[in-house]
Symmetry: C2
Subunit: 295 residues, 2 copies
């Protein structure tokens, strides 16, 4: 089987904030054959995330002109007994119309349960990596007790919006901040937060968007304060919690069904609008999970 595949590529390495001119939409022919062992997926929803910028830099060891992306797709053709045409899957696909992959234990491509009743897009927002980051960061890294105070930086972003709501459901007092181009977050905010933390405070560190573009000077933590207040800062990312993904989603899914968690998705249409959607992440204007819906 042959399909015409459009994909978003970077024209060159990107340093600083990205612009639409850094990208182009290219075309190729993707070939699938029954003896390839491969699965051909037509992508439906693409996740647009700030961390992807790090892959586009000259310094990135894993730089590729084509951008991998957490996404939802539908199996069009399968040479694997594990997947059948019509299956809807979620995992690392790409900013493209079609993705070919070879199933293996290293390829984390989950089949979605169509009976769950959630909009498909939820599987890359609240029930995807954003939810996993927010839930794991809050409950595994920070482990807040009821009544504790939680500060969420970038509280209107895909992860922050959920972390703040999850913390309220856990009985915490929640304060958040959000950046706009005019009023930037970043190093200075981090320093202010550390200076105002309580004793035994925990910082779950999953992203530093202002550093991706060099938009603000870096944080200079007061290490003496960290000692006297016994502060812990821990870096992590979503995939650390993969073994608990199903467990998290059972809880989060219930919260969404009961209306206890509001899901905010910022959806653009069409592969050609991926660059614009991505660029918007860094202007401080988008609210909620940025998603591009394909055809």
């Amino acid at each position: 089987m042959e399909v015409t595949n459009r994909y978003v590529a970077t024209r060159h390495h990107i340093e600083g904030a990205p612009s639409e001119a850094d990208f182009e939409v290219k075309e190729e022919t993707a070939r699938w054959s029954p003896d390839s062992g491969e699965v051909l997926v037509k992508n439906l929803y693409l996740s647009i995330d700030p961390y992807q910028l790090n892959r586009m830099k000259r310094s990135s060891a894993s730089h590729l002109a084509r951008i991998a992306s957490y996404a939802i797709g539908e199996v069009v053709a399968s040479a694997s007994p594990e997947y059948a045409a019509g299956d809807v899957v979620a995992g690392v696909l790409g900013w493209e119309d079609y993705t070919l992959f070879t199933p293996s234990p290293a390829v984390l491509m989950g089949k979605l349960d169509a009976s769950s009743g959630f909009p498909l897009s939820h599987h890359i927002s609240v029930l995807g990596t954003s939810g996993m980051t927010a839930y794991g960061g809050l409950f595994e890294v920070c482990k807040p007790a009821k009544g504790e105070k939680v500060f969420v930086s970038a509280a209107s972003g895909s992860v922050g919006l959920l972390a703040g709501q999850f913390a309220k459901l856990a009985g915490c007092y929640v304060v958040g901040c959000a950046g706009t181009k005019a009023k930037n977050v970043g190093g200075e905010m981090m320093e202010a937060v550390l200076a105002n933390m309580n004793t035994y405070g925990r910082v779950a560190l999953c992203g530093v968007i202002s550093e991706y573009t060099g938009a603000s000077r870096r944080a200079v933590p007061d290490l003496l304060e960290m000692i006297y207040k016994r502060i812990t800062i821990r870096g992590f990312f979503a995939w650390d919690f993969l073994p608990k993904f199903a467990e998290y989603n059972a809880v989060i899914g219930d919260w969404v069904r009961q209306g206890k968690v509001q899901v905010i998705e910022d959806v653009s249409d069409g592969l050609e609008n991926v660059p614009a959607a991505f660029v918007e992440l860094f202007t401080g204007q988008n609210v909620g999970k940025k998603i591009v819906k394909l055809a």
Copy 2:
């Protein structure tokens, strides 16, 4: 009972590195009476520690001209049933010949077992707060597995010397650094260490001596690196491990008896030499635990 008590006092707030001229030895009459409820202790060994400088700064909330110090002393007179004349105690006393204290659960003043056979000075070095900091920081905060790599900053200081030896006993590969006035440690060393850490590395942060005097610029950690490598930085201090003090000392004491841990103490004589001993901590020349022996 009245005794003439000499004590070391700061002449003024100290900013930057201390000098001997910042201190003076003063004299007063200390009065103890049988109905006071107080215990009068003649101090024998004083602990000289970098963190004490922070109490001498203008910014310190707990600034006092007289300096509290972990120390060993002998009870001279007691109006408390818990202590008797002749008892040897370890706890927070002061840079002075005699200290009066009122026993309470908040006063952590332990009686030493004379049958332990260790030199008294060991109870403020390897069996005191230095040992507790090194043991707790290594085994409670970092929890190294056999074969893991351990880096010790300020490896010739009172805590670092022990942390490095403890890590070797735990089967780790140990690298240390030590600063001299000419080749300063501090923020740049911290950045270099973070940049070279392995995935899932842990940083036990118990002191930042170069920041006490402003001797080097502050560290600017690469937070993105901390995320990708899932680094944890945790501030702590010795007293956090107080409930485990006896348990730690049982292990450490055995190591010392068996010659598995070398104890290096840098002992000066006489209260009048406390300022010089303290100043030396910040010139990068002292090796081992700095102690002043009285009378």
